[in-house]
């Protein structure tokens, strides 16, 4: 999409590729940990490895971005792109961290084994929406489609609603505190945070393309 | 390959021999004249030569009055010719967008190519016919020869002053005429001095215009409206005279004139050297 007519372009392409790599790994981390949580499988050591890779890669992305700033003193769209890439790489690293947190909940507390069906279904539905958001956010790195970025904010609102609805439901129903309740509350909280980060990525893409700072949340 | 190289080398050597021999052939007349003048001129030079005026037949004498007359004539010619030349040069260089500058430059070029005898006759018609043979008439004719030389060198040396310098002055809010006189002229000073010296060297050796304007005079200087003795003219007059002592003085005068012009040339060299440092 961008012609290679400038020296900085090769560097920008490298940054983009690092972010794409991070995006794919992050997606894998979250889908692995959610699948493990829902189906009752231990994924902690596997997700930890992926999360570590993400943290290292985030560092790699930031180093590259700083190098480009030092070498080319970018301005205008290049400057906005690099500023946004730093934010995006942070969000992608957060994906990995939350994936690890979810795996840890299963490890330390429990999964959905003892849960009622409505809880189980609620979490599965929320997980699907969040995974969809992650997928969109990763694709945005490539296609920079601002309509898709806006779409992210729609889904994020739904996730938010589901989050509060779940808490309301729990408070409405007189039930005893058990492992299911504790772990599921923590997981929906993480899902909500992941959705936020997906929206941040959408905002960053919007800024790269239009130069406008907006809040999609 | 090898043959080709050898042929080229031979060609190169032949060419070099040709150039060297041309140079030597060209230098032979110059050096033989110089040698002649030095040998014969040196015999004429003694203390009397510099202190006494033109002698009568068979007496002791020198060229002191001719040196005096020449210096006065050159001085007067410079007083007339240098300001006009410099001002025309400034005009051509600083007002080159003026409609007048093209014709002025053309006339200047024509003037510099004029045969000096014609200039002399001009001076004769204009001045000698009115006040008679005089230093004024000679100086006037010589000034006319000077003007195109001074104009040309002034124009060229002012052109060498970068536009940036003029712009810097204008941008400081300095008026144009002040810029030219106090800044541009300062930058072209060396070139202008060189031009004036060049013109002086040229007119110091002129005899034809002096011949028709100065008239004959073998005494000390006695007024601008009267003739005065002149070195270049002396060489001509003495050399064709039948008197032995005059002919010796002609050689001496020639040597003195050559040394004077040489001196001016060296001065020019010294002055212009700084430009390229």
């Amino acid at each position: 999409m961008m012609k290679m007519t400038r020296l900085i372009d090769a560097g920008l392409e490298q940054v983009k590729n690092i972010l794409l790599r991070m995006g794919n790994i992050a997606h894998e981390a979250i889908s692995t940990s959610l699948k493990g949580y829902i189906e009752g499988l231990s994924t902690y050591s596997e997700v930890q490895k992926i999360s570590d890779i993400l943290i290292i890669t985030e560092e790699e992305a930031n180093d590259k971005i700083f190098e480009l700033i030092a070498r080319f003193q970018p301005v205008a769209s290049d400057l906005r792109l690099l500023k946004s890439c730093m934010k995006i790489s942070y969000s992608l690293a957060r994906y990995g961290r939350y994936a690890l947190d979810i795996s840890q909940i299963y490890e330390k507390i429990d999964g959905l084994a003892l849960c009622e069906d409505w809880i189980r279904n609620h979490i599965i539905e929320m997980s699907e929406k969040v995974l969809k958001m992650i997928q969109i956010s990763v694709e945005l790195l490539n296609n920079r489609d601002i309509n898709e970025a806006r779409n992210l904010s729609e889904i994020e609102k739904q996730v938010d609603e589901m989050y509060f609805k779940y808490l309301d439901n729990l408070m409405d129903k007189p039930s005893t505190v058990n492992k299911c309740i504790i772990s599921s509350v923590l997981v929906v909280r993480y899902l909500e945070r992941i959705a936020d980060h997906a929206t941040y990525i959408g905002e960053s893409i919007f800024y790269i393309v239009t130069g406008e700072k907006i809040i999609l949340r | 390959m090898m043959d080709n190289y050898r042929i080229r080398k031979i060609k190169d050597r032949l060419m070099r021999i040709l150039l060297w021999s041309s140079l030597i052939i060209a230098m032979i007349p110059l050096f033989s004249i110089l040698l002649d003048v030095f040998i014969n001129g040196a015999r004429a030079i003694n203390i009397d030569f510099f202190l006494l005026p033109t002698p009568t037949v068979g007496e002791k004498g020198g060229i002191a009055n001719a040196i005096q007359g020449t210096l006065i004539t050159l001085g007067l010619a410079s007083i007339i010719g240098v300001p006009i030349g410099i001002m025309s040069g400034i005009f051509l260089s600083e007002y080159h967008d003026s409609k007048l500058s093209q014709p002025v430059r053309f006339i200047n070029d024509v003037l510099s190519g004029f045969p000096s005898i014609v200039v002399g006759i001009f001076g004769y018609v204009l001045i000698v016919s009115v006040i008679g043979f005089s230093v004024i008439a000679a100086a006037f004719s010589l000034a006319i020869i000077m003007i195109p030389i001074v104009t040309r060198t002034t124009e060229e040396s002012l052109r060498m002053v970068p536009v940036a310098i003029r712009e810097a002055a204008l941008a400081l809010g300095i008026r144009r005429w002040k810029t030219i006189i106090f800044i541009v002229l300062k930058g072209g000073r060396k070139g202008i001095v060189t031009g004036v010296l060049l013109a002086l060297a040229r007119i110091a050796g002129e005899s034809a215009p002096v011949l028709v304007t100065m008239g004959y005079w073998r005494w000390w200087f006695s007024g601008l409206n009267r003739p005065a003795s002149n070195l270049a003219l002396n060489i001509y007059l003495f050399a064709i005279s039948p008197f032995e002592n005059w002919r010796t003085l002609a050689w001496g005068s020639a040597l003195f004139l050559i040394l004077m012009i040489l001196g001016i040339s060296i001065l020019i060299r010294v002055l212009t050297r700084g430009k390229y440092e």
Binding site: T5, R6, I8, Q73, P74, V75, A76, S77, D78, L79, R80, G211 | D97, V161, P162, A164, I165, E167, A168, A169, L170, A171, L172, G173, I174, R175, K178, F182, I183, K186, G187, R189
Partner: protein, 261 residues
């Protein structure tokens, strides 16, 4: 209300209205309209031949010193049109100093005379006054300590960066209100350039500065406002931060990111 409006107008040093300029039949500036803030640094950027230099040369009426040059439009300087009927361009140039691309100290003139000449030729006779202005000007450009013991040496004996500072001191000596700078560091090494940039920033405390530069980073570093000129037209003009972070015009964006050609 009225007073506020008046003050807002007064804080503009220049108001350029419908300015057009030609060299012969070639139009180099097309209908420029811009207001330039007082005691701020305005940078003019754009590709070669876009009219940057011509624009600033129209402000102090240097443009017309070139044969065949023509100007139309108005340039209000402190509210007065410099192209007005009774305006003497020489008086305008005394109030608007200019620094050129290549340092151009007067040759055959000492360091002292280079700074003093503008005063002397503009009629300041008092030697003590000239001395004090020369010192003050050289101090302002940070050259005094370097040259105070050799004021009689030729201006050309200084290094390139020192020469350019000397030229700035020369311009300051006639006490202008504005300094126009035409790529003042393009002939200098990076360290000398950095010194000049710092100096420009310091001078902006007291002077209105307009700097033409090829070097976009220099414009970004040094200026408060940036104007982008392209093919004789003012494409975009605004606070430097906005121009460099978030230009509104696509041409500006392309030029800044090097996507031209």
């Amino acid at each position: 209300m009225n007073r506020q409006k008046l003050e807002a107008e007064l804080s503009y040093k220049f108001e350029i209205e419908n300015l057009n300029a030609w060299f012969g039949s070639k139009q180099v500036l097309k209908n420029i309209n811009m207001k330039i803030k007082e005691k701020a640094i305005t940078a003019i950027i754009g590709p070669s031949g876009c009219g940057k230099t011509t624009l600033i040369r129209c402000l102090n009426r240097m443009h017309e010193t070139v044969p065949d040059a023509k100007v139309t439009g108005r340039v209000l300087f402190n509210g007065v049109d410099v192209y007005g009927r009774d305006i003497d361009p020489v008086q305008i140039r005394r109030k608007i100093g200019m620094i050129f691309q290549k340092p151009n100290p007067f040759p055959m003139m000492s360091i002292y005379d280079n700074v003093a000449i503008g005063l002397k030729l503009n009629g300041v006779k008092d030697k003590r006054k000239v001395d004090s202005i020369v010192e003050k000007s050289l101090r302002m450009v940070g050259l005094w300590d370097e040259v105070k013991d050799e004021l009689n040496k030729s201006g050309a004996s200084l290094s390139g960066g020192q020469q350019q500072r000397l030229c700035i001191a020369r311009a300051l000596a006639v006490e202008p209100e504005v300094l126009l700078m035409d790529e003042p560091t393009s002939a200098l090494d990076p360290i000398s350039s950095a010194k000049i940039e710092l100096l420009i920033r310091e001078l902006a405390e007291d002077y209105t500065i307009i700097i033409v530069t090829h070097n976009m980073q220099q414009a970004a570093r040094v200026s408060d406002y940036t104007a982008f000129l392209y093919l004789g037209e003012l494409i975009e003009y605004g606070p430097t931060r906005q121009i460099f972070e978030n230009p509104k015009n696509e041409l500006t964006e392309k030029y800044l990111t090097g996507g031209f050609g």
